[in-house]
């Protein structure tokens, strides 16, 4: 193994690992990578720990994401590491930064508009939630087709102006 890489460098490698379902954004963009740090082992050696969190409990991409992160570490000759999974604090779409939201939009996926932390967790029926803008023509004359889309994190919408269907990354 080469000398222990700096933390910043590891973050940069992970920022190049695409999400398997939405490859325009990385696992860092989506807030899946929670932490990169060195921990001192009982043997006195420093060991790299990468902590990730699943987006949805049952997201089938989690296994793939894990494998892709391991591949990235191996490609940079890091073979001694621990890949930890944490559930707390639970992932929310608030972890997706402004730049990543713009990437989603350019890819044809309407990003989450509200902040999940502001909206709270409620079972009240949605009546006047903010209109979702079409990622193609920016019209807000859009309607929900299905609460679930091609992956757990997306809902299916249709634009009433340009008539195109589109995915919306849910506020979660």
């Amino acid at each position: 193994m080469v000398a222990a890489p700096p933390i910043d460098e590891v973050w940069a490698w992970l920022a190049d690992v695409p999400d398997p379902e939405i490859p325009i954004v990385s696992v860092v963009d989506l807030g899946i990578v929670r932490d990169v740090r060195y921990e001192r082992e009982a043997s006195g050696e420093e060991r790299l720990h990468v902590t990730i969190t699943p987006t949805y409990s049952g997201c089938p991409a989690t296994t793939m994401i894990r494998a892709n992160i391991e591949t990235a570490l191996h490609e940079h000759n890091v073979t001694e590491y621990a890949l930890d999974i944490t559930l707390t604090p639970p992932w929310s779409s608030d972890w997706i930064g402004a730049a990543a939201r713009e990437k989603l939009r350019s890819y044809g996926i309407a990003p989450p508009q509200e902040r999940a932390s502001t909206r709270g967790i409620s079972i009240a029926r949605e009546t006047a939630s903010a209109a979702i803008a079409c990622p193609r023509c920016a019209s807000v004359a859009t309607s929900l087709v299905s609460a679930f889309g091609s992956t757990p994190c997306k809902a299916l919408y249709r634009c009433n102006a340009c008539l195109e269907p589109f995915d919306h990354f849910k506020c979660h």
């Binding site: 049952g58 889309g149 757990p152």
Partner: protein, 252 residues
């Protein structure tokens, strides 16, 4: 009932509820009435399976006998499953599928909301994650109850009948036993009886909006948590476990 440490018993109940309903919904994959519903049911099923894996894995850790999620899911006999009877009921018509989902989702939400502040940090972590997903399930199944209840004469009648038929399984949801009481006292679990009021409030207001009548409480069946299941359950398990049991220990 099998003597199990209360904490493990609670985790198995939570895991079994999610696993068995997830399996039921999985039966609809490729068979949904419309493609959007097919996707939706598969997604809800995935959420539940993900949650089941987390609960069962932790049950194995707490039990300390080397059993993992697969051992619990595939190598237990019917009487060792402690899910509530509601979740194992067959899919039936779409009104029945929706009614089962609506009654369970609403209860599931309040249980997870309580468990999110469990004194056991691992339980609080799983519940905090799951409750966000389940809030979405509740909104969706409630929307469907309204759409079908306040729909055509036919859909209204079917939705009403489906809820009437499943009502007998709702009493069990709020019946605390020794496990529930002990864990609630220790701050780990939640008492179920106090959840009935908010559950009735949401179910009632949704049914009113759906122009449906809330059934009166009659005889309630309450044996699922003791491992006594309905006839349909054996068939469900047989299908779910068959591959794993024909080639035990194999990997793919």
């Amino acid at each position: 009932m099998i003597a199990t440490e209360p904490l493990v018993a609670l985790l198995l109940r939570l895991g079994d509820n999610a696993l068995i309903l997830g399996q039921r919904l999985g039966e609809l994959a490729g068979k949904g009435p419309i493609v959007e519903e097919d996707l939706a049911m598969s997604n809800v099923s995935l959420d539940l399976l993900g949650q089941a894996r987390a609960w069962l894995t932790y049950a194995g850790t707490c039990e300390g006998r080397g059993r993992d999620e697969d051992a619990f899911a595939f190598f237990r006999a019917p009487h060792e499953f402690t899910n509530v009877l509601l979740v194992e009921q067959p899919n039936g018509s779409y009104a029945e599928t929706i009614a089962r989902q609506f009654l369970f989702d609403t209860w599931h939400f309040y249980v997870l909301q309580g468990l999110a502040s469990s004194s056991d940090p691992h339980i609080a972590g799983i519940a905090s994650k799951a409750v966000r997903e389940v809030a979405y399930h509740v909104r969706r199944s409630s929307d469907w109850v309204i759409r079908l209840g306040d729909g055509t004469e036919e859909s209204h009648a079917r939705m009403q009948r489906a809820i009437d038929d499943l009502w007998t399984y709702t009493g069990e949801l709020f019946a605390d036993d020794a496990v529930d009481t002990e864990l609630a006292e220790r701050g780990i679990g939640v008492l179920l009886a106090p959840l009935q009021a908010p559950w009735r409030a949401h179910v009632g207001s949704t049914m009113t909006e759906a122009t449906l009548a809330m059934p009166a409480d009659g005889f309630m069946r309450t044996d699922g948590k003791r491992g006594v299941h309905s006839e349909a359950f054996g068939y469900l398990l047989a299908e779910m476990q068959s591959v794993r049991r024909s080639i035990p220990g194999d990997r793919w």
